[in-house]
Amino acid sequence: MTPTAIISIVTFLPLAGGIILLALPRGAENAVRRWALFVTVLEFFAAAHIAFMPGHHFSMSGWAMEENYAWISTPAIRYHVVLDGISLWLVILTAFLTPLCVLISWRSVHDRVKEFFFLLLVLETALTGVFVAFDLFLFYFFWEATLIPMALLIGMYGHGRRIYASVKFFLYTAVASVFMLVAILWLYAHTGSFDFTVIQPWLRSHPEVAAGNAGLWLFLGFFIAFAVKVPIFPLHTWLPDAHVEAPTAGSVLLAGVLLKMGTYGLLRFCVGLFPEAARAQAGWINVLAIIGIIYGALVAMVQPSLKKLVAYSSVSHLGFVVLGIFTFTAAGTAGAVYQMLNHGVSTGALFILVGMLYERRHTFEISEFGGLASRMPVYAAFFVFITLSSIGLPLLNGFVGEFLVLSGAFRDRAIYGILGASGVIWSACYMLWMVQRVFYGENRNPANALLPDASAREKLTLWPLSAMALIMGVAPMIWLSSINPPVEQILKNVAPASHMAYVAGGQK
């Protein structure tokens, strides 16, 4: 354990940048943009350098870094933030995507520019906070804090039905969070602490709670909040609406990071705190995950709108993550964490690409396009490359996650692996069919006759994403070596042996 202030710096740097940004004179829009870019790039380097800091402990077990201070004495709320191999990379993912969001919003946002970038920076702090918070109160605070800037980004800067989508997004997730709040308060009432590192041992030492009815209800309370966020079938219908109406930057962070709050929560809290309940409930959760994989892909296949197609593909991809988490194998869980990062890169990139097309044509309808590869060869090449990463071509990022998840799932129960693996067929179907309709064939729509190819700024956003997709596919050990230890630690608690012991303990 290294006591250090770097976690707080990384968490609040964007917020501080945002407050300074508010002080910039109104009308100085380019200064606002540049400042936002500067802050987010700085934040990226600050976050990324943690992974390469000398003397860190990410490849060993235990919390690699933490800061732990008393904040409020009654109730006992602590400012307790922790980085381990799982949260570290999610924080870096957030920091990696946000500067790209600034870049893609450079021109597309021209009204209320200052507010936009302020909200973006606030959102970045809130997202980072979710991944580092180890005090449940603090976690809940950041969790809810992400909702406001996100809902505002959709509601203020979105497209046609933005209000509907924004309200739907807000209500869906806020209502679900209440269940988690109840569970958190129950835990506080019984343990006198919000601190994860207090609650977890307490639950270990109170098997009658953890493995009993209370444990089940607590698990479900957390689970509902996370399941909506992921989203797990059939709680996913807010997602396509939110995505379609959200501005591109909103979609990127929504798909790239916000959804990971759900899967991160499932792993850290649902499985981490209630391993017995998680194991007992894994059956139907895995069924829902597999339905999500197949159903999301099939519905994506028939979407007439490009952005909805990508949105439904998220449902399918996140199904892999949930499946990986709830099969309790080392490969499955590490694969699930890796898949979270992959999805952030690939789907984030897809939303950016779709957004670029929208900036040119102001439509998402697939039927409006066709033959674009002739007009926009560079853009098409990026698009196809990211498509390949999304459908899990080996040596690109998606494959590593999918392969690990599925091999883990297969080890747990063959049928999970088999049904999940059918996803490799479906993903090829919907993505390649879409690519064919958008990029290949002859350019028959006169509206597309003069579309410009990717600009320098656009290439600047696409290169890092493409490079990341390639590096993550070729050299996944950079990530896996620090993901593995915390995963093993989580799994130690879920091991069937201990499960049996606690069940026995609960019965006496």
Partner: protein, 685 residues
């Protein structure tokens, strides 16, 4: 000894990267130089490594660990390279034939748009194919496996502005993915039960199992791997993508869809012989699929008019032979035919490309004829290839096909049924190949008689690419139109850069089989002895039996060989009679055959059946039931229904609907603040 095998795939990758990233700004000569130089370097490295390995005299494989790809718990996947006699043969075929086809492509593609793109993809293919054949474990093999699929997808769709090419590329990828799906399940089974995907460890773990142990598991693994092979090597029921793959430029058909990529399934089965040997049921399935595919595709090939389609179905059929050989555990026979087929089928496609090139893009054999004199080099090299594939002694195909037929008959896993079907297929092969030969090179030129060419079956080559090619892709084609857009009078032999590969492959089509002349014909069957260390490893005593033939009873190898030659001769005579001596006969035959001809002409309606049974119902179900029904109807209906109900109860929510964003935003913030305050209050209590 360190052979640095990693360089062999990485060299073409470097070529692909250079041309892919910078090639757009390069002149064509530089693009071609880069592509050829890196491929040639890879070939030379492969030859050097092969010589070193052979000189080392090691019986076992040479394994090179490069790096760890992923490691989770006790599962580890490596980047590693595995050289034994089997991968050596594959490596040399891939780099050697690959290099020749690169050379040929420089001439063939010179006038096309996207020249750099073509060579980038072609080099990328070489990288993935070499990754596949040199892999030291199943996961890396799968990397190459999917990667060559990608290269195939990109190259089939090279003329992406044509709908048919784009559709064919997509179809190839998706159908292959179906095979990859079962292949993956095979890998999961291996991981679950053996804990590793490393060839050496898996096979040695299987090798020490007592005979008969775990047969069910090994059969399951073998069948799952077979599924992958059916996709990649275009076997029933997943062969449907290969004929459509002819939408790609002809050198692509030669390299990827004839000589190398499609043989990956055969290679994979041979590589996994330790598994298949212990799963006799799976071997039987392999043999049946191979046999059925060989016959089935040959019958379709009888009636095709498009010169490349004939060759495509012929490829499917020949791959069936190889799979059949694997199914009777005659892996070296399969590899022998794989090698000779790589020579003569690549040559056939390149020759066909030369014909198409000469005719300015014409692919329909009904508009060819009499080309013998006009393009003599092409004619003679095609003649060699035709004799080789038809199985005329002493051409290469004679020895390899003979070996397969003999094993199909004599192996412990064989049967006279397999042999008979193989023999009939040999006759059919000879017939449709000589039909192609006579239609293309003999008789009178028929090009002028059909003024209205059917759009289908014409490769948009140079001359007509210009009209439809979008700016930036056909720019060069426009200038080429002047040189190419002429009729019969302009029929011309291809330039030397295309002819030299043809001649080299023609020589190989003749002498390539001499390395495997069986003892009964006075040879030493060196090829089989060469591969023996590979296929005898990991085998148990009971299961090596099929490798040693020569059963005293029954017909001798010599008489079977004569029968095969006879079948080839019958095929030739029939083709000569119907397409040369009495050309009106085949028209009458078509009318006579009536329905049967229609069935063949429509390729048994397999594509239509798949469309009606799988594709359309799936799309319909997804759209009508899952999306409109479940998603929009049931789930969202419930959610919005409850939301509406809630809204009617609440003034404040109705107020939020006023549409004023700022007031709405305020409400959101206020609501969130309330939640927080409430929460804190709850906590403080």
């Amino acid at each position: 000894m360190n052979l640095h095998l990693v360089a062999i795939p990485l060299l073409p990758l470097a070529g692909a990267a250079i041309n892919g990233l910078l090639g757009k700004r390069f002149p064509r000569t530089l693009v071609a130089t880069v592509a050829l130089a890196f491929t040639a370097a890879s070939f030379l490295w492969a030859v050097w490594a092969a010589i070193q390995f052979a000189d080392g005299g090691a019986a076992g494989p040479y394994i090179e660990h490069f790096a760890t790809w992923m490691q989770i718990g006790n599962f580890q996947a490596e980047y590693g390279f595995y050289l034994d006699h089997l991968s050596m043969v594959m490596m040399l075929i891939v780099t050697g034939v690959g290099f020749l086809i690169h050379v040929y492509s420089v001439g063939y593609m010179w006038e096309e748009g996207g020249f750099y793109r073509f060579f980038c993809y072609l080099n990328l293919f070489m990288f993935f194919m070499l990754t596949l054949v040199l892999a030291s474990n199943y996961l890396q093999l799968f990397v190459g496996w999917e990667g060559v699929g990608l290269a195939s997808y990109l190259l089939i769709g090279f003329f992406f502005w044509r709908d048919s090419a784009a559709a064919a590329g997509k179809k190839a990828f998706i159908v292959n993915r179906i095979g990859d799906f079962t292949f993956l399940i095979g890998l999961f089974l291996l991981i679950k039960h053996f804990g590793t995907l490393d060839f050496a460890s898996v096979f040695s773990k299987i090798g020490v199992l007592p005979t008969g142990e775990a047969t069910g598991l090994l059969t399951a693994i073998a069948l799952m791997l077979l599924g992958g092979a059916c996709g990649k090597s275009a076997q029933l029921p997943l062969y449907v993508w290969l004929p459509d793959a002819m939408e790609g430029p002809t050198p692509v058909s030669a390299l990827i869809h004839a000589a190398t990529m499609v043989t990956a399934g055969v290679y994979m089965i041979a590589r996994s012989h330790a598994i298949f040997d212990r799963a006799p049921m799976a071997l039987l399935v392999v043999a049946i699929i191979g046999c059925a595919t060989a016959l089935f595709a040959a019958t379709i090939g009888l009636v095709q008019h498009d010169i490349k389609r004939v060759l495509a179905y012929s490829t499917v059929s020949q791959l069936g032979y190889m799979v059949l050989a694997c199914g009777v555990a005659a892996y070296s026979a399969a590899l022998f035919h794989l090698m000779t087929h790589a020579f003569f089928k690549a040559l056939l496609f390149l020759g066909a490309g030369s014909v198409i090139h000469a005719l300015g893009g014409e692919q329909d054999m009904r508009r060819m004829g009499g080309l013998r004199k006009k393009i003599p080099w092409t004619f003679w090299s095609m003649t060699f290839a035709t004799l080789a594939i038809a199985g005329a002694p002493p051409f290469a195909g004679f020895f390899s096909k003979d070996e397969i037929l003999w094993r199909a008959f004599s192996s412990a896993h064989g049967s006279w049924v397999f042999w008979l079907i193989g023999l009939i297929t040999a006759g059919l092969t000879s017939f449709y190949m000589f039909r192609l030969w006579f239609l293309t090179f003999f008789g009178d030129f028929r090009g002028a008689q059909h003024e209205e060419p059917e759009a289908s079956g014409r490769e948009r080559h140079a001359s007509d690419a210009a009209s439809a090619a979008p700016p930036g892709h056909g720019a060069h084609g426009a200038s080429a139109a002047g040189g190419h857009g002429h009729g019969h009078d302009g029929v011309h032999e291809s330039p030397p850069i295309m002819l030299v590969p043809l001649v080299i492959l023609a020589i190989l089509s003749l002498v390539g089989g001499w390395v495997g002349i069986p003892a009964v014909l006075g040879g030493g069957n060196h090829f089989e002895k060469f591969l023996a260390p590979v296929f005898e490893a990991y085998a148990t005593a009971g299961e090596t039996a099929p490798a040693s033939p020569a059963e005293p009873s029954g017909p001798s190898e010599m008489s079977l060989s004569l029968a095969a030659t006879g079948a080839a001769l019958v095929g030739f005579l029939l083709a000569w009679w119907m397409y040369h001596r009495r050309p009106e006969l085949h028209v009458r035959a078509r009318q006579r055959l009536g329905e049967l001809y229609r069935v063949l002409d429509h390729k048994y309606w397999i594509d239509e059946i798949y469309g009606a049974v799988f594709v359309r119902p799936l799309i319909g179900l997804s759209r009508a039931v899952l999306w409109r029904g479940v998603d929009a109807g049931v789930i969202d209906g419930t959610v919005n229904g409850s939301a509406t109900a809630a809204r009617e109860l609440s003034d404040s929510v109705r107020h939020m609907q006023s549409g004023n964003i700022r007031s709405y935003a305020g409400w959101v913030a206020a609501g969130a603040a309330c939640v927080l305050v409430y929460m804190i209050w709850l906590g403080m209590r």
